[in-house]
Symmetry: C2
Subunit: 179 residues, 2 copies
């Protein structure tokens, strides 16, 4: 959780779909329970919470490969981060488990694409739909400045997938860790 | 949600595994948000919350069959109910999605067994693990007095499955709807 906790400078907030989040210049992130974090923009302009929870789609062989390749959060050199809160549509949530898995991986290759950017991009997913939050997920990424182009490539490819047609709210918050 | 809301008389509270819940003689159930309920035993002796959320294992063909056979909550004749809060072990939550699905259905036949008791037993599952609650699920069942033996058969069979070896806390609360 090292990478999450602490203070970050907000470099930009881009509303990509749905309602925006108000402008803020700092993001304060702190643990509020086991695996649960709260991210507060500016002087409590907005507050988002999420919990690490269990995997929803990843199969054992995928988890094994992810673990063998992924980097931890909080690396010294990873001074850039992105917090991208996402909400998916009611149509997505009404799908059966096999239908969501098929779109997520067999069609959109979400895990397979993400794997290509390991270990340069470290990531953590927090779930918040069951918490009654305004978003369903808080996605968190950390990377070094020299890997910024690779990160842009990753998010561009994910946004082109069939899975992303179910995203009905998305705000892209870019962060810099103060020296 | 008709079946959930309102006041029920607690006929019995049996702790089957893990820490008990304190004795109480009434259960008051009320909606506290979209798809989210709160169940309070006695004079706030304990309070449990859960949210309907999306399906985690059911595939489309299973959902279609369930919907064609299930009865709604709140039937006049269903004056018996059971609230069975359940927690599963860390070992369960560390399993990959395909491993949990295999234990849940291919090995334990959870959905297939439940299907045999439709429409006599009406049921609703509420999720609460991500809410930081003491249980992972609130399972809720409603049935007529004449179907009580069938309901006992259902819970006995589920408790004999491989899935149930991962249940590390379970309290069985039986309820009667006041006339």
């Amino acid at each position: 959780m090292a990478g999450w906790s602490g203070n970050w400078r907000i470099a930009s907030i881009e509303t990509r779909r749905g309602a925006p989040l108000a402008a803020a210049d700092r993001l304060d992130v702190r643990p509020i329970g086991a695996g649960t974090v709260e991210a507060q923009g500016g002087a409590a302009v907005w507050t988002l919470a999420g919990t690490a929870s269990n995997v929803r789609y990843a199969e054992r062989r995928e988890i094994t490969e992810l673990r063998s390749r992924q980097a931890p959060l909080g690396r010294d050199e990873a001074r850039r981060a992105a917090l991208i809160p996402i909400r998916k549509s009611a149509a997505w949530w009404e799908l059966a488990q096999d239908e969501r898995r098929a779109i997520f991986e067999e069609t959109s290759h979400h895990t397979r694409i993400g794997m290509e950017y390991l270990p340069a991009v470290a990531l953590q997913l927090y779930h918040c739909r069951d918490l009654g939050e305004p978003f369903d997920f808080l996605t968190w990424f950390e990377y070094a400045a020299e890997d910024a182009a690779a990160f842009e490539d990753l998010v561009r490819r994910l946004r082109e997938t069939a899975e992303w047609t179910y995203v009905d709210r998305e705000v892209d918050i870019r962060l810099v860790r103060p020296a």
